[in-house]
């Protein structure tokens, strides 16, 4: 009881003795940074508003009028009704979802396993650590070329498989509609598991060691400690890591485009590839704006969810 009253009185004291000065300082600071804030607001809001504007028109750069005059081509939400009926869009969205549902969990589980491994010391740890982080530093387009070569029908992947099986294997990874998506996903997992590993390792190292020891002394085995202490303590960082990868993976493009170009046919056409094709080949920018806006809404939901958890984490220090 005495402790409870003590904290309350402390809070009161804190409130009473809080000087008025910081408030004034904050107001002055706001005024001083106002120009910069307006600029930032403009930079972020302008393209969005422009996009919103174009998305309700049939405007294209070849239409002969400036984008600000796009209202002349007002089509009253036809782009959005078209989008709802666009089967190529929906199958691209579906494909993107499949890639995400395979890649993100795979990257998460691999990253977590590696982080658990690297939380303890073992000989050569620093070298392995550097090697492990390398894929993340490779330019995605370069990674695309690497996997493009690896997955050629006479390439190293088939070579290795041939050695293992014993008979020559010539799988056309990138030109088989059923396999090309797998090849693309392998490349994504290779490139982005290190990021997951890095974030999760930071979280893992932050798990209080004495609480782990306390759990051990209370008879918890390694798996029980992992489930009852490590995972709950890492909850926030896991959500952040997953959110980053969900958002990034949704936009998967460079590696994939270089490996398959979205093909064969539309077999690896994800949403970004589809947008790219509509933009550069069909040149209907009003429609592109509508697609992009739809995706932005989806991703915003993910971001808001993640940020809510981050705010909660900041509220309660571990």
């Amino acid at each position: 009881m005495s402790a409870v009253t003590a904290t309350v009185s402390e809070d009161k004291m804190g409130a009473r003795t809080k000087p008025a000065a910081p408030d004034e300082g904050a107001r002055l600071g706001f005024r001083l940074t106002l120009p910069a804030q307006i600029l930032v607001l403009f930079i972020s809001a302008f393209p969005l508003l422009m996009q919103l504007y174009i998305s309700v028109t049939d405007w294209s750069p070849l239409s002969g009028v400036g984008w600000w005059n796009a209202w002349e081509m007002w089509n009253s939400f036809a782009n959005y009704t078209d989008l709802a009926a666009d089967t190529r869009f929906w199958s691209a969205l579906q494909r993107t979802a499949i890639v995400m549902l395979v890649c993100v969990p795979a990257e998460f589980l691999l990253g977590l396993a590696l982080a658990t491994l690297f939380a303890d010391d073992f000989p050569g740890k620093r070298i392995f650590y550097s090697i492990l982080l390398m894929p993340m530093m490779v330019v995605p387009a370069v990674a695309g070329y690497m996997f493009f070569m690896l997955f050629q029908s006479g390439g190293p992947v088939n070579d290795i498989l041939s050695r293992i099986v014993g008979t020559p294997i010539t799988i056309a990874w990138l030109s088989d509609p059923n396999l090309s998506l797998i090849a693309v996903m392998v490349a994504d997992i290779w490139q982005w598991t290190p990021l997951m590993f890095l974030i999760l390792l930071a979280g893992l190292v932050g798990v209080p060691e004495d609480q782990m020891k306390a759990a051990t002394l209370l008879g918890a085995n390694a798996w029980q400690r992992f489930v009852t202490i490590v995972l709950p303590k890492m909850k926030t960082i896991i959500i952040i890591a997953l959110a980053i990868r969900v958002i990034e993976n949704f936009k998967i493009f460079d590696t994939l485009y270089i490996m398959t170009g979205g093909g064969p046919g539309v077999a690896t056409e994800t949403i970004s590839v589809y947008i790219y094709k509509v933009t550069t080949q069909d040149l209907i920018w009003g429609y592109v704006a509508a697609i992009a806006l739809a995706i932005l809404i989806v991703l915003s939901v993910v971001a808001v969810y993640a940020m809510k958890h981050m705010a909660k984490a900041r509220e309660v220090p571990a």
Partner: protein, 361 residues
């Protein structure tokens, strides 16, 4: 319930020796304090008892059972960490239930045991609170309850009061002592605070630089320190030690303190023991036992500390500095000369070469 036997225990970390051969017997149900300055090896000893670290050599026995190779989860040891290591993401109830839950106890059984332990520790109204916003004394009770629910034979406490402010420490000391009476387990308590050790422990093991200095009841350690380290470390302020040389006089054996003169004659038994020692000795007496006298050591007052109930008077300087503690106030001020005399029965003598006490009889 279990006694603990430490036999020839050694712990090295690379080149650094944290513990040089430790032998200690802790009786069943005893409250033993491991006391010493930081880096003395007390926490290392404790961690080895808990199984967090393996001894480099030597044996740890719980009763008859050799603990070598027994993992910490299977030792039946309750451990209260310095910062309590409460699982902050759980409620008080989940913290208390953790041990039984991990061992697969039935839900009804867990509820019953949590209820019982919460009742005993007065945690019942707090069971559904999140553990990250509790005050220290509640955290301490949760930490003890979480271990106690496993009914360990041995309880280890690693400086549980060091994060608590002084005023609260007194409250928690009493609480801890009462808890030990309730649980009746063997308790090992690591601390650098002699007040905690003196007030709570049945016996104290004083350690320094990886060496066990002395084991005894609080009063034994205070009254008859085994060596110079214990004499200086125990007591606040520690024992006064003045360098001198034994000399025969017509009144019996005295100690020649050089410029300070000659001490009053030593008691016969101590004198007999002292005659066997060659070379310099240290003449020791407790500051609290000093009285002002007509005849004794005549020294200038260099500083007076008044702390209410007691007054600490600093006498002399350098090698021959002495502190004297008086009840209430004393009519001495800086610059005056005080004549102090320790009662003959409270005098302790140490061999200056070895540091060991010269014991009568």
């Amino acid at each position: 319930m279990s006694a603990i036997h430490l036999q020839n225990l050694v712990k090295k970390f690379g080149d650094f020796t944290a513990l040089k051969t430790m032998d200690l017997e802790i009786a069943d149900g005893e409250f033993m304090a491991l006391l010493g300055p930081s880096g003395c090896g007390k926490s290392t000893t404790m961690n080895m008892i808990a199984g967090m670290e393996e001894p480099t050599s030597g044996k740890i026995l719980f009763g008859e059972r050799d603990m070598a190779g027994v993992p910490m989860g299977r030792r039946g040891v309750g451990f209260v960490f310095q910062n309590y290591a409460i699982f902050t993401h759980m409620t008080v109830r989940q913290n208390l239930a953790y041990g039984p839950r991990m061992r697969g106890a039935a839900r009804a059984e867990i509820d019953r045991r949590v209820g019982a332990i919460a009742e005993m520790l007065q945690l019942s109204p707090l069971l559904d609170r999140k553990a990250d916003r509790l005050s220290v004394n509640i955290l301490q009770r949760v930490a003890i309850g979480r271990s106690a629910i496993m009914e360990p034979a041995i309880f280890l406490l690693d400086e549980p009061l060091s994060n608590v402010d002084a005023a609260f420490r007194a409250v928690m000391r009493t609480e801890l002592k009462q808890l030990q009476r309730q649980f009746k387990q063997t308790m090992v308590y690591v601390t650098h605070d002699q007040l905690e050790a003196m007030t709570m422990a049945d016996r104290i093991a004083v350690m320094d630089h990886g060496v066990l200095q002395q084991v005894g009841t609080p009063l034994e350690v205070y009254n008859n320190p085994a060596n110079v380290f214990v004499a200086r470390f125990i007591g606040a302020p520690g024992m006064n030690l003045l360098k001198g040389r034994p000399a025969e006089s017509d009144r019996g054996l005295v100690i020649d303190l050089g410029p300070l003169g000659v001490t009053p004659p030593l008691p016969d038994e101590l004198a007999t023991a002292l005659r066997a020692v060659r070379g310099d000795v240290l003449y020791g007496f407790r500051p609290e036992q000093v009285t002002l006298a007509e005849r004794g050591l005549s020294m200038p007052v260099s500083f007076v500390e008044r702390i209410g109930a007691r007054t600490i008077v600093h006498l002399g300087e350098g090698e021959s500095a002495v502190k004297a503690v008086f009840e209430n106030d004393v009519g001495l001020s800086v610059g005056q000369t005080a004549v102090v005399a320790p009662p003959a029965s409270s005098v302790r003598v140490f061999d200056a070469a070895t540091g060991f006490a010269v014991r009568a009889g």
